[in-house]
């Protein structure tokens, strides 16, 4: 939508997206990393990454539950 910093938009690697999403789940992020994220990630990448992250989160909790009840 707003394209102030389009130079490098979408250039993030999968690992970078994964890292951003993982930190988002914990709710902690360093300022410099955030600025890096904001420059290189597109909203679509973040949303898809977030959905995958949520699925992994659910599976992870399910796995722990299985461990506990078995």
């Amino acid at each position: 939508m707003h394209n102030q910093d389009t130079q490098k938009k979408g250039s993030a690697s999968i690992w970078q997206i994964a890292k951003a999403v993982m930190f988002a789940f914990m709710g902690i992020r360093k300022k410099s990393d955030l600025e890096n994220d904001a420059a290189t990630l597109t909203p679509a990448q973040v949303i898809i990454g977030g959905i995958i992250g949520a699925v992994l989160f659910v599976l992870g909790v399910m796995f722990v539950v299985r461990l506990v009840v078995s």
Binding site: Q4, F25, M26, G27, I28, L34, A38, A54, F57, V58
Partner: protein, 528 residues
């Protein structure tokens, strides 16, 4: 769609607006609409508060004195519905209407006419809801969560409630579409997403949650309606439906809904605390990420409201663990606010007092929430006053206190006048005292086993109930003081300077005169 075009910029150069009542009915100005939202929600707050006074008057002593059980059930149901859908949610939309365009340097909301429409749906819905008291059979009486089979069996009052929820849902969806579009498309040049004030961020995420779950609520009440009148059996066991499925779908909406009611208050507090600590917000980026994280997690924990509805152990454990993990991003937020205050040059004007009161009491509510998330404890305290105490700590001393903080914080910008600081402080301390008097003892009542939604109780609960009722009457009357302070401020408050709070840094304080002019930011400001 052409109408939307003409509206957006035809309006900007039009200074001739109708006066008197027509100004308010036809207005497309975000400030007028924001004001109407706020007055509407305060009116509904008083209606819902009156119902609460009725409930507490009945519970002042054991036995049935004032309200017959049927009427008592209607009071508890309508108190919940009115406070959630009529008071808290519209109040936050009112704040968004006033503040979002000012804080991002936009001239108005993206769809000004739709904005007007989404407000004017509210009085219609509220009239339907309140008038249901006067139809045969009375208002809906099955609790604010309207579980079947009670809600499939009730009378005309339930139908009115269903229509009212439909309308309120439509209004919220339109409001949030408007807010999302405004935030994403209408920011001033240089206002990147990561420079937006936190209040705008929290509203962006809240608005997304609203368009995610409000349609599901609309769907589930539609199913109730067809079950009642068109012979379907979504929730009717005799026809192959399942009443427990209603609870699953309802809480799929209902749990994100509680975050819809708290995230914007996180935003308000995140504006107020840095201003009065005279320091930038500690960990801005963490705050944004934590808000997003809470929003996502809130969609996978709904069944912790239904631990006693019958669920396999695996399911109970899953929802218990997922729920407890939400405490992590919430804790990040609380620590960030505390760290913002750390070594700040703090001053304690009324908005700051309410914000600190918010943090203090919201943490108590958060902890009792974690306690309720533990399955064996929840099975004990389910449907007791412990749960009542828990969610009033997060909704009254959470959402409502943040709304008060925001109202005191921004009223100088809105009206050009200062409120009476002494009275404001009285309002805070009286609210703080009576709130805790009302709800803290309810923890004890709940642990001792007093069930909710029952008009009578055993003798051993008498003392705490009397204390709680006295607190409630005090809390209710204190809110009339708030009304007086606001009217007094609007009519005869002292003139406010452009920036009455010297620590404020957002656009509405730095770039706009006080009071904010009717049309602001027609030329977008430049943000560095």
């Amino acid at each position: 769609m052409a109408a939307v075009h003409g509206d957006v910029h035809g309006h900007e150069h039009d200074d001739h607006h109708p006066s008197g009542i027509m100004r308010w009915i036809t207005t497309t100005n975000h400030k007028d609409i924001g004001t109407m939202y706020l007055w509407f929600s305060f009116a509904m707050f008083l209606v819902g508060g009156t119902l609460a006074m009725g409930i507490r008057a009945e519970l002042y002593q054991p036995g049935i004195q004032i309200l017959e059980p049927e009427l008592f059930n209607q009071f508890t149901t309508l108190h919940g519905l009115i406070m959630v859908f009529g008071a808290i949610m519209p109040a936050f939309v009112g704040f968004a209407n006033w503040q979002v365009p000012l804080m991002i340097g936009a001239p108005d909301m993206a769809f000004a006419r739709m904005n007007n429409w989404s407000f004017w749906l509210l009085p219609v819905a509220a009239t339907l809801l309140v008038s249901s008291f006067f139809v045969p059979g009375g208002a809906a009486a099955g609790g604010w969560t309207f579980y079947p089979p009670l809600s499939t069996q009730g009378g005309l009052g339930v139908d009115l409630m269903i229509f009212s929820v439909h309308i309120l849902g439509a209004s919220s969806i339109m409001g949030s579409i408007n807010i999302i579009t405004t935030i994403l498309n209408m920011r001033a040049p240089g206002m990147t997403l990561m420079k937006m004030p936190l209040f705008v961020w929290t509203w962006l995420i809240t608005a997304y949650l609203l368009v995610l779950v409000m349609p599901v609520l609309a769907g589930v009440v539609t199913m109730l309606l067809t079950d009642r009148h068109f012979g379907t059996s979504f929730f009717n066991a005799a026809g192959g439906g399942d009443p427990v499925m209603f609870q699953h779908i309802f809480w799929f909406f209902g749990h994100p809904e509680v975050y819809i009611m708290i995230l914007p208050s996180f935003g308000i507090v995140s504006e107020v605390i840095p201003t009065f600590s005279r320091k930038p917000l500690f960990g801005y980026s963490s705050m944004v990420y934590a808000t997003a994280s809470i929003a996502i997690l809130s969609c996978v924990v709904w069944a912790h409201h239904m631990f006693t509805a019958g669920m396999p152990t695996v399911g109970q454990l899953f929802f218990m663990y997922a729920t407890m993990l939400i405490a992590v991003p919430t804790g990040v937020k609380v620590f960030n606010w505390t760290a913002t205050m750390w070594r700040g040059s703090m001053s304690f004007e009324t908005p700051m007092l309410f914000a600190i009161g918010f943090i203090f009491l919201f943490v108590i509510g958060g902890f009792s929430g974690v306690i309720c998330a533990i399955v064996p404890i929840d099975i004990q305290v389910q449907d007791t006053y412990y749960v009542i105490a828990h969610f009033h700590y997060v909704l009254v001393s959470g959402s409502l206190f943040a709304l008060f903080a925001g109202a005191y914080y921004w009223i100088p910008k809105w009206t050009g006048r200062m409120y009476n600081e002494t009275l404001g402080k009285w309002h805070f301390w009286l609210s703080m005292f009576f709130f805790n008097l009302t709800f803290f003892v309810q923890h004890f009542l709940g642990l001792a086993g007093m069930p909710r939604r029952i008009p009578d109780y055993n003798l051993q609960f008498a003392d705490f109930n009397m204390i709680s009722s006295i607190g409630a009457f005090g809390f209710g009357s204190t809110q009339l003081l708030f009304l007086y302070i606001m009217i007094n401020c609007i009519r005869s408050g002292e003139k406010a300077p452009q920036k009455p709070w010297d620590g404020a840094t957002t656009l509405e304080w730095t770039h706009l005169p006080t009071p904010a002019p009717y049309h602001s930011f027609e030329k977008p400001p430049v943000v560095n």
